[in-house]
């Protein structure tokens, strides 16, 4: 579905490589986390997917379409893109118009437009904000407006650049539950996040990007045990994994507090330890 082969990218001839021989295959229905330090190339890589940037060399195809030769507007029917900063994305005077904008661009039948906007606004708790000016909303609400304007397009692939920044924990969980539901419905999700707990809780596969290269690419629970690679990326394993790692192989399957509690209970016997 998404295929990246020998992708390199530099902003101009004299500039250093931002992306350095990236090879990745992402299949339909995957939920993939892309993590790495600021400047590691995450956002540049995401922009290659929807054709905002074109490869310096190598090839990127989305559902078989080569991004180098396909119009960005055509790619937009396959791939929805949420920018890191909602204020870079929002420009209409009302929330309603903001969500409608993309629908008009993809020539959505007029009779469907209103229902689709209502449905997505309901899903994201924006039903009472439709007439508001987005810039009078809180940062968290603006983030959800931007997300709504992406989700309403119902693309197969969703690319989300830090979808939970500016949200409190409850809002963060609400957004991720929506993303997860979309994933269960078969959408492919690729998201950048600095929140390692979100990655641990919601993504099955994790890619670490470091200095423009793929440093790790594996199941999330495997990658989150690689303390050194995470350290290189300004990250640390989730607390429970850090804790589990201190006991050597004893808790190597542990992924959550629940797993850990179960494993500890299984080892603890009054007056001794079960080995």
């Amino acid at each position: 579905m998404i295929s990246i082969q020998h992708l390199t990218y530099r902003y101009d001839k004299k500039a250093p490589l931002i992306l350095d021989h990236i090879n990745l295959e992402i299949n339909k229905g995957e939920c993939v986390a892309l993590i790495g330090q600021n400047g590691s190339g995450k956002t540049t890589l995401l922009k290659q997917l929807n054709g905002l940037l074109k490869p310096t060399s190598g090839r990127v195809t989305i559902n078989g379409l080569d991004t180098a030769t396909t119009k960005t507007s055509a790619l937009a029917r396959h791939i929805g893109y949420l920018f890191q900063n909602p204020d870079h994305q929002i420009f209409c005077n009302t929330v309603y118009d903001e969500i409608r904008f993309g629908l008009l661009n993809i020539q959505c039948p007029p009779e469907e437009i209103h229902d689709r906007i209502k449905r997505i606004a309901g899903l994201l708790g924006l039903e009472n904000k439709l007439t508001r000016d987005p810039f009078t909303l809180s940062r968290g609400e603006r983030q959800r407006v931007a997300l709504a304007s992406v989700l309403v397009l119902e693309t197969d692939i969703l690319v989300l650049d830090e979808p939970t920044t500016g949200q409190d924990y409850r809002e963060c969980v609400e957004i991720m539950e929506i993303v997860k539901d979309l994933n269960r419905m078969g959408k492919t999700i690729i998201m950048v996040s600095h929140d390692i707990e979100v990655v641990a809780d919601y993504c099955e596969r994790t890619i670490i990007l470091h200095q423009g290269r793929v440093l790790e690419d594996d199941a999330t629970h495997v990658v989150l045990r690689k303390s050194e690679s995470l350290m290189l990326s300004g990250l640390e394993p989730p607390q429970i994994i850090q804790l589990a790692l201190r006991f050597g192989p004893l808790f190597q399957h542990v992924r959550s507090p629940e797993d850990m509690a179960e494993a500890v209970a299984a080892c603890a016997v009054p007056g001794g330890v079960r080995v």
């Binding site: 350290m231 804790l243 500890v264 016997v269 330890v273």
Partner: protein, 293 residues
């Protein structure tokens, strides 16, 4: 050092009280974390301490706020800023100059700090937040995280007695965030600076703060030493506040009657808890003291 007597405030044009009947006492040298869902009144509380309310935001103001013994309503913003340094949520809204070192010098010049001393303080504060290399850079080209560090450096260069910070690590990665907390801890321990920080990263608050305040709907609903507040695990989750995962684990271990001692606040302490259980040395009738380690 800071005292709130029955304080309520509603922003101009709003009927709703942003904070309600707040009574609060903070002593010199405390390191207080404030957490709560958005709209709980956290930023309002901070604005009442640094004088942004009532001096910039107007509205209905009840009760009194005393900072270093003086009523903020009767002090000017300039006077309050001699005692209270502020780091706001959005660094771009706070920066006034175009070069990093000028940004740090700006406040110092306003406070008539001698030129030689200014040089020393710029070097020192940039070093404390780990951005010496950005000294001569333009502020416009900095990343969000770098800008946040510049505003923190500018605030601590003034060596205020009290430092209030409103989500200062929102754009920093986990290591960058930890570094900010380590800096704050040093300021707290070495200079006795009183620190109040609004933050969503409960894991860092638990590890570094001495006191935790939980706000909801304009009120402080939990307030106490970190361990004591974290005991209210279920209540926190119900409020939509994340709990450190080691606390969740401890709760599960308690439910399974494997443990009934103090709540661990970080991974080191959690390791102790698990080791005790594994060694079978844990005696349910004598809760061991985590502070002994």
């Amino acid at each position: 050092m800071i005292r709130f007597n029955n304080v309520s405030f509603a922003y101009e044009g709003s009927e709703e009280l942003a904070v309600r009947n707040i009574n609060l006492h903070i002593d010199k040298g405390e390191f207080v974390g404030i957490i709560g869902p958005s709209g709980a009144g956290k930023s309002t509380l901070v604005s009442l301490i640094n004088g942004v309310i009532p001096h910039f935001h107007r509205g209905d103001y009840y009760g009194e706020v005393l900072v270093c013994g003086k009523d903020t309503l009767e002090s000017t913003c300039g006077e309050i800023s001699r005692h209270v340094g502020s780091v706001f949520q959005d660094p771009e809204a706070q920066m006034v100059t175009t070069v990093v070192e000028d940004e740090i010098a700006f406040g110092l010049e306003n406070f008539n700090v001698p030129a030689g001393e200014i040089e020393k303080r710029i070097t020192e504060s940039l070093k404390m937040v780990g951005i010496e290399h950005l000294r001569h850079r333009g502020t416009a080209a900095l990343s969000g995280g770098q800008k946040q560090r510049v505003t923190i450096a500018a605030a601590i260069a003034l060596r205020p007695e009290i430092l209030v910070l409103d989500e200062p690590t929102s754009e920093l990665d986990p290591q960058g965030s930890r570094q900010v907390f380590q800096t704050l801890k040093r300021l707290n321990q070495e200079y006795g600076m009183t620190i109040l920080i609004v933050e969503q990263k409960v894991m860092l608050l638990s590890e570094f703060c001495s006191r935790l305040m939980v706000m909801e709907k304009g009120q402080i609903i939990l307030d106490g030493p970190v361990r004591q507040v974290l005991e209210h695990h279920d209540k926190l989750l119900e409020l939509g506040i994340n709990c450190p995962r080691v606390v969740t684990l401890t709760k599960l271990l308690k439910d399974a009657s494997l443990y009934d001692g103090d709540i661990p606040v970080d991974v080191d302490e959690a390791e102790q808890v698990v080791r005790k259980i594994l060694e079978g040395a844990y005696d349910q009738h004598t809760a061991f003291d985590l502070s002994l380690r």
